[in-house]
């Protein structure tokens, strides 16, 4: 039986072996390249996606473990041309330099805000400890997340 996964509301058959990390299925087979390879070891967070709403390192999840659960990638956040509040907040804060970590940062942040609608600075720091930004844009990333939290609360989610 070929595996099937649901990504951004769309079902895809997967021909890669079931032990293949989800990251490579997303990038190479489904051609969803917004999710980045940073280390392949679960140490940098660049490959973060949401699996059933929770942020996960897609390089550490075999594709077989992602079946039957909705997967959301960075490509799935924008709705009808409208950015997700976290995306908009990153854009507004200029919270990136090379931006290679940005997909993972945004996905982790979306996951955080789903669990904690009003995170303190310490909450953000704690939650994003596994996401590496090598350009040193951390202060703006924190600012963007807290601003997105405010927007989302105002909109009543």
């Amino acid at each position: 039986m070929p595996i099937e996964i649901e990504v951004n509301g769309k079902r895809y058959p997967v021909s890669y072996p079931p032990d293949t990390p989800l990251l490579y299925v997303l990038r190479d087979e489904l051609q969803l390249n917004g999710t980045k390879y940073g280390c392949g070891e679960g140490q940098c967070g660049a490959c973060t996606v949401l699996i059933a709403g929770a942020p996960r390192r897609s390089c550490q999840i075999p594709v077989s473990a992602a079946t039957g659960k909705p997967v959301t990638t960075i490509e799935g956040l924008e709705k009808e041309g409208r950015l997700h509040p976290v995306q908009q907040a990153f854009l507004d804060a200029g919270a990136f330099q090379c931006a290679y970590c940005t997909s993972g940062m945004i996905m982790s942040s979306v996951g955080l805000l789903q669990m904690n609608a009003n995170p303190s600075q310490a909450d953000v720091v704690q939650f994003l400890q596994g996401n590496v930004c090598r350009c040193g844009t951390h202060p703006r990333i924190i600012e963007a997340i807290r601003s997105a939290a405010k927007t989302m609360q105002e909109r009543g989610r």
Partner: protein
């Protein structure tokens, strides 16, 4: 086009550089209009002003190795009014695409949104030696301004001709030329229509002074920001070509190992797998990355290894293996250090060690290569597209015109992406496969087979008079490099010397080069001297400094920091450091908290003042300055490459510690905008005073003087 050679210095620690060849732009103007359509084009060639920048006050490099180059740029105004600027510089996260577009828009008097920059494509852009050395802003910005200014003149002339009036009375603004006398105007688009007008840059074309900038100098957000937050931007590892295979390279077990046997039969038998053996190069290409990995795992090799220096013994090795005689260009002397020391009230000598560190760009080295009709096209994240092209041409015995290198906006570099390793590997595999091949280095490959910021040993001898004035300063750098080696402090008796040592690990450029190491040693030493003189470290520095730009950043940082501060908690400490390099000035103040029981060191606050002349984009600059401070904190406290028997023993993010959210202190960056001074680069200098400021704060907190980088990889341990 003719090229005017500009001379610039090449620092010895750019070990990865080979002699750069000279180039001329090959694209005929006819081809240029064919690509872009009709309109108005201006071509620029480097002029004296660029060479002037290299000798501007503040440039303290004393070596004179010359790299030939031919900086130029060009610009096109299309029939639809669209403006395209061309430069060989690469966007690697420093946000220069935005700053250059601002510059063009500002000088041409067009809206920012109408300008597009074509960058770092060897087929479309002019030759460029590379994006390094904080050079884009001081050299490419004025060059693009001149080009835009000349294009503006052409447009005014075209309007004058149209109306049969003198050009002198016409005004260019808002993408149109207006005749104030009659009130009539023509849009640039209308003026460019039906024309194929090309001109070389006139000898002198005045550019708009910074005080009159309207678009430059503003905090315009990053171009294409939306593409980055939506994941749509395609970095090199994201490229997908029709029929593309995934390539992997078999790495030796240790540095310098040679292949003695290789059984690749099992790999060759795998479906869709291509195996390449060429000397010691063994690589595979397969339809997917996991098939490529399986094929690689199926290859059995044996290697002959050679004994290697380990990180534990590297500093004594560097000291013992220095060249007996230094070249004149790496030596500077003034007065008599011996006399200065003899006459000093206090003497202080010390040795400082600096470990190897890795760039660890989050986008690993990667390339996609495609062969067609004997020509090679490579997409790769590099800071030196033209040098990559030449290396590929040489390796594959092709004329340069048969190789094209394209640099997609890249996931950072920090000086680490000068070489063509991944490009070479992808091209070799693609040639054998007859299909495009993508090679993306793994994190472990990135930490092992790239190059490092060189380790170094620094020795200082110094003396001060009873009033705290320096009387003698002798500074020796072994191996790590000569950037920023000269002291900005006033001293009559001086000797500085850089000592070359054969490479231990593959080494090369890193943000700021050896200026970070040299600033660490000097500013730590100055702090210790302040202690000997029983003076406040800030006051001691000011007493020995006359350069007004250096004094200004030091004063600005101290004021915002609240220097001198009273300690309110146990384990609290404050430190200051300053420096200058490549025409810009920096001062950093640090507050640390040291847990005396556990030895844990936490940087609580960093305040940095930075001045790089007229600011082109304060928002992008702030990002670069804050980013450099955080990156500098990693090298200051815990980053170090460890190695043994030719193997990197911490080639993972789990074992090579980079700054993470929890490490980031409260940060304040003060940007001094000097509209009266030409803009200097800003990618490097802001990193340089961070480590010594933190170290000096740790001393203030604990009385422990840390002379080695990284300072506290495992926390502060009692001696």
């Amino acid at each position: 086009m003719s090229g005017v050679m500009e001379k610039f210095v090449l620092e010895p620690e750019r070990y990865e550089f080979r002699a750069a060849p000279m180039h001329q732009f090959e694209l005929a103007r006819r081809d240029f209009f064919k690509i872009l359509g009709a309109g108005i084009a201006v071509f620029a060639v480097a002029k004296d002003a660029l060479a002037e920048q290299e000798t501007a006050p503040g440039h303290r490099s004393f070596h004179n190795e010359e790299l030939p180059k031919d900086i130029d740029a060009w610009l096109h105004v299309g029939e639809d009014g669209s403006v395209t600027g061309f430069t060989g510089k690469a966007e690697i996260g420093q946000n220069i695409r935005t700053a250059l577009a601002q510059t063009v828009a500002d000088e041409l008097r067009v809206p920012f949104e109408s300008v597009r920059m074509v960058m770092a494509d060897t087929a479309l852009t002019p030759f460029d030696a590379g994006t390094f050395g904080s050079r884009t802003t001081p050299t490419m910005t004025p060059q693009l301004r001149r080009v835009a200014s000349a294009a503006r003149d052409l447009l005014i002339e075209a309007a004058a001709k149209e109306w049969n009036v003198a050009p002198a009375g016409l005004v260019a603004a808002d993408a149109k030329v207006t005749d104030p006398a009659s009130g009539r105007s023509l849009k640039y688009a209308e003026l460019a229509r039906g024309k194929m007008l090309a001109q070389n840059l006139p000898a002198e074309d005045p550019i708009t002074p910074a005080a009159q900038w309207t678009i430059a100098g503003k905090p315009i957000p990053k171009v294409d920001g939306r593409a980055f937050v939506t994941g749509k931007h395609q970095y090199t590892p994201d490229l997908l070509l029709e029929g593309m295979l995934h390539g992997k390279v078999l790495r030796p077990p240790s540095f310098g190992a040679t292949l003695t046997s290789c059984d690749d039969n099992a790999a060759k038998a795998m479906k869709g797998v291509v195996v390449v053996r060429d000397g010691d190069f063994v690589g595979v290409a397969a339809p997917s990355a996991h098939e490529a990995q399986h094929a690689l795992d199926a290859i059995h090799t044996q290697w002959k290894e050679v004994p290697q220096i380990s990180s534990k013994e590297v500093f004594s090795y560097l000291k013992q293996n220095a060249a007996l005689k230094t070249e004149d260009r790496f030596r500077k002397q003034k007065g008599s250090v011996e006399d200065g020391l003899a006459g000093a009230a206090h003497r202080l000598d010390a040795t400082y060690n600096v470990a190897y560190i890795a760039h660890a760009p989050l986008e690993p080295r990667a390339a996609v290569a495609q062969w067609a009709g004997g020509k090679l096209t490579v997409w790769t994240g590099t800071q030196r597209p033209f040098a990559n092209r030449d290396e590929l041409a040489a390796a594959f015995h092709l004329p340069e015109s048969s190789v094209r290198v394209i640099v997609p906006d890249t996931g950072s570099a920090y000086g680490g992406k000068h070489t063509s390793d991944a490009a070479m590997e992808a091209a070799r595999l693609a040639r054998a496969a007859g299909r495009p091949v993508k090679v993306v280095w793994t994190r472990e490959e990135e930490f092992t087979w790239a190059y490092f910021r060189p380790a170094g040993v620094i020795e200082i001898k110094s003396g001060i008079a009873g009033d705290g004035m320096l009387t003698a300063w002798e500074f020796h750098n072994y191996h790590s490099g000569s950037s920023g080696i000269e002291t900005p402090y006033v001293v009559a008796n001086l000797r500085t010397e850089y000592h070359a040592v054969p490479l231990v690990l593959r080494s090369g450029s890193y943000r700021g080069l050896a200026a970070t190491a040299n600033h660490f040693a000097r500013e730590t030493h100055m702090d210790a001297l302040a202690g000997v003189a029983k003076m406040d470290p800030f006051a001691f520095r000011m007493k020995n400094l006359t350069n007004p730009r250096m004094r200004a950043v030091l004063e600005a940082a101290a004021e915002s920091f609240g220097w001198p501060r009273k300690k309110t908690q146990e384990g609290q400490g404050f430190g200051v450091a300053c420096g200058d390099e490549k025409g810009s000035y920096v001062a950093t103040c640090a507050e640390v908290a040291v847990d005396k029981k556990s030895g844990a060191v936490r940087v609580v606050r960093l305040v940095e003042a930075f001045e790089c002349g007229a600011i082109v984009n304060p928002d992008g600059l702030r990002n670069q300055v804050v980013g450099a401070m955080i990156q500098g904190l990693g090298g200051a406290l815990f980053e170090a490459i460890e190695f043994e028997n030719g193997r990197i023993t911490n080639a993972h993010f789990a074992s090579y510690r980079v700054p993470r959210f929890r490490d980031v202190p409260e940060i304040e960056a003060i940007l001094l905008d000097r509209k009266d001074i030409p803009s200097a680069g800003a990618g490097e200098t802001p990193i340089m005073a961070v480590a010594p400021a933190i170290g000096n704060a740790i001393f203030d907190a604990t009385g422990v003087r840390l002379n080695n980088l990284p300072m506290v990889p495992n926390g502060l341990r009692p001696a």
